[in-house]
């Protein structure tokens, strides 16, 4: 047991129990004190969980962290036999497929959310929202199955040749159509992000105070002008936050991507070519990682993923909270 881990543990447990004990006790019944401390324990245990998770990933990735350091991020070689590891092809695949997903899903979910929040008849609203939730309830593995048996052949036979014919002058749409590849991964991820982004964007649009809309309506604005001039600008932070949430979900999605991205560690500008992603390399090679350094390199990728998604989610939540505070300030003024 290394001293660093011991210190961390002492610090964490001291913090947890100290935190519980110093909470002021204003209760008349002994049961109340106990119950309050129990719920605080649950909450503190969550802090503990996240701390331990970060620490554990960091410790297990230690061999790789020490040996490769930051160049791991832009190293292009991944060779378990010669113990050379660089994660750039995987980071590239994840980044491109995710951005593609966001570019596809963003406008669609924004439009759907605007319809659900502003234009939809009141009776239809609940049903439509439930159906969108249903789309979110379909497991990722099922999307992967659908993507590899339905979407990939469709892309190979129809969409990709068409794109190559008419937009082939762009480097994005060159090369032979494989079906599976970055484009397929992007589309599947987009389908998976849409429900999350739609639901959150809709919630965000619905908290925009009615006064904002009424002010414009009083000027004789059309419904669309109300949306464009009053609702969307007011909810801007929240909408960006919702997009970041979708981004976080797309970054961490594993099996659906693994099944359609092609699992080939190449860096190619073309969206048609197979690629690899951070999540799929972990899933594919975890069982075969006999060498400690190989396992550490995989966990190193996991650590990077953890860091990135944590950052993305923190940004998303801060943006959404900012909108919430703006709304509550408005309500105080009213």
């Amino acid at each position: 047991m290394d001293p660093c881990a011991c210190c961390l543990r002492a610090f964490i447990f001291g913090g947890v129990f100290g935190g519980i004990l110093i909470t002021t006790n204003r209760a008349t019944y002994p049961g109340d004190t106990f119950f309050r401390r129990l719920t605080i324990l649950f909450a503190l245990a969550l802090f503990l969980l996240v701390l331990v998770m970060a620490f554990q990933l960091y410790r297990e990735a230690q061999p790789s962290l020490q040996r490769f350091g930051w160049p791991f991020v832009w190293g292009r070689e991944w060779d378990p036999v010669h113990e050379k590891f660089g994660a750039l092809p995987y980071i590239y695949g994840t980044l491109v497929s995710t951005l593609l997903a966001l570019a596809l899903a963003g406008p669609i979910s924004l439009g759907a959310a605007v319809y659900l929040a502003e234009f939809a008849p009141r009776r239809l609203k609940a049903t439509l929202a439930f159906l969108v939730d249903l789309l979110a309830g379909i497991p990722g593995i099922v999307y992967g199955l659908w993507g590899s048996f339905v979407l990939a052949p469709f892309l190979r036979n129809c969409l990709e040749p068409w794109l190559g014919k008419y937009l082939g002058f762009l480097p994005l749409f060159q090369g032979p159509p494989f079906g599976i590849g970055l484009l397929a991964a992007g589309i599947i991820l987009a389908i998976m992000c849409i429900p999350v982004m739609t639901a959150v964007t809709r919630e965000v649009l619905e908290v925009v105070p009615a006064g904002q809309r009424e002010a414009l309506l009083a000027f004789g604005a059309t419904p669309w002008e109300v949306v464009r001039l009053a609702v969307l600008p007011y909810a801007r932070e929240g909408i960006i936050g919702a997009f970041f949430l979708g981004l976080g979900k797309a970054l961490g999605e594993t099996l659906a991507v693994t099944m359609v991205i092609g699992n080939r560690p190449e860096i190619s500008l073309s969206l048609f070519s197979p690629a690899h992603s951070m999540t799929s390399v972990i899933v594919n090679e975890f069982a075969q990682a006999v060498k400690a350094i190989h396992l550490a390199a995989l966990i190193h990728i996991g650590l990077l993923l953890f860091g990135i998604t944590l950052l993305v989610n923190i940004i998303a939540r801060l943006l959404i909270y900012r909108l919430g505070r703006k709304v509550s300030r408005w309500k105080q003024v009213e």
Partner: protein, 299 residues
């Protein structure tokens, strides 16, 4: 004063006699509304496309055998995924054992003790952030903590991983529902001299039970389809197993294995497995909504 009146009159007139361009603005508004509606239809169309295709491919393979028999050897027809269905339910049960008390506990803390204040905000933020952490990293974490220590993959580890994923989902939903419970109910209980914990557990929680349970089923449904963390925890098992300390099979893992195999018969099993998985998820979601007794307190 006089000038102001004239302005008001002008504005009133402009409503009655549309200025040039008014028709164009109305048209643009209608066009945008139709565009947004058609984007919604596109999303629903995607849902129909995926669900319909799975129904079409999965339905022929659906039979009683599928639920009661283990898979047939390669090359033989028939067989089912009984072991995977059982494994999925075992994993779900374990996940609920961990996720429900922990999640509901945090929900109670956030709604009853920490509506305001720095610590409550911090916990709320953490719960939100944790709900965005990819399931694969949670799987790796549980692998390093449980699987490495116990030296084998086990259903227990899988349940713990799924349970951790459930916690933030259950917690935020529980908090939201509890906040909707009228304050008067708590005050009525307290005025009778009940301790606060009894008020919370026996008055507030039951009156919000419907909403909380719907939230739990949603979280459970979300977790039932997770396969990524299972690669590092419960792995897979070709045989019937109910031992919590052994690897156990599950529907998502079996779908993945069958879908990536080169046999057509296995692909059929994968489609039927997907159909059953979605069926379980949707059935649970619908049943909870339709048949749970209680008050309609929902977020």
């Amino acid at each position: 004063m006089e000038a102001g009146r004239i302005e008001v009159r002008q504005m009133a007139n402009s409503r009655i006699e549309p200025k040039p361009g008014h028709f164009g603005r109305q048209l643009k508004s209608s066009v945008m509304a139709v565009l947004c509606a058609s984007l919604t239809m596109l999303v629903l169309g995607l849902l129909l496309l995926v669900l319909g295709y799975i129904l079409w491919r999965g339905l022929p393979g659906l039979s009683l055998d599928f639920f009661t028999k283990p898979p047939a050897p390669v090359g033989m027809r028939g067989g089912g995924l009984a072991h995977a269905i059982a494994g999925s339910f075992i994993l779900m049960g374990l996940a609920c054992l961990l996720g429900i008390p922990w999640g509901v506990g945090i929900g109670i803390f956030l709604a009853e003790y920490a509506r305001k204040g720095f610590f409550g905000e911090a916990v709320r933020f953490l719960v939100d952030v944790l709900s965005g952490v990819p399931s694969i990293t949670i799987g790796i974490f549980v692998y390093t903590v449980i699987v490495v220590r116990m030296k084998n993959f086990s259903a227990l580890a899988g349940g713990v991983a799924l349970g951790i994923i459930m916690v933030p989902l259950v917690a935020r939903n529980t908090e939201g529902i509890l906040r909707l419970v009228p304050q008067g109910l708590r005050e009525a209980g307290l005025s009778l001299g009940l301790p606060f914990w009894k008020v919370t557990l026996f008055l507030v929680l039951p009156s919000a039970a419907r909403g909380i349970v719907i939230g739990i089923t949603l979280a459970g449904a979300g977790v039932a389809g997770e396969a990524a963390p299972l690669f590092f925890t419960s792995l897979n098992n070709n045989f019937w197993s109910v031992n919590l300390l052994e690897p156990v099979s599950s529907l998502p893992m079996e779908i993945f294995r069958y879908a990536t195999a080169p046999f057509a018969a296995w692909h059929e099993l994968a489609w039927t497995g997907a159909l059953v998985l979605i069926g379980i998820v949707i059935l649970v979601m619908l049943l909870a909504r339709l048949f749970l007794p209680g008050f309609e307190i929902r977020r």
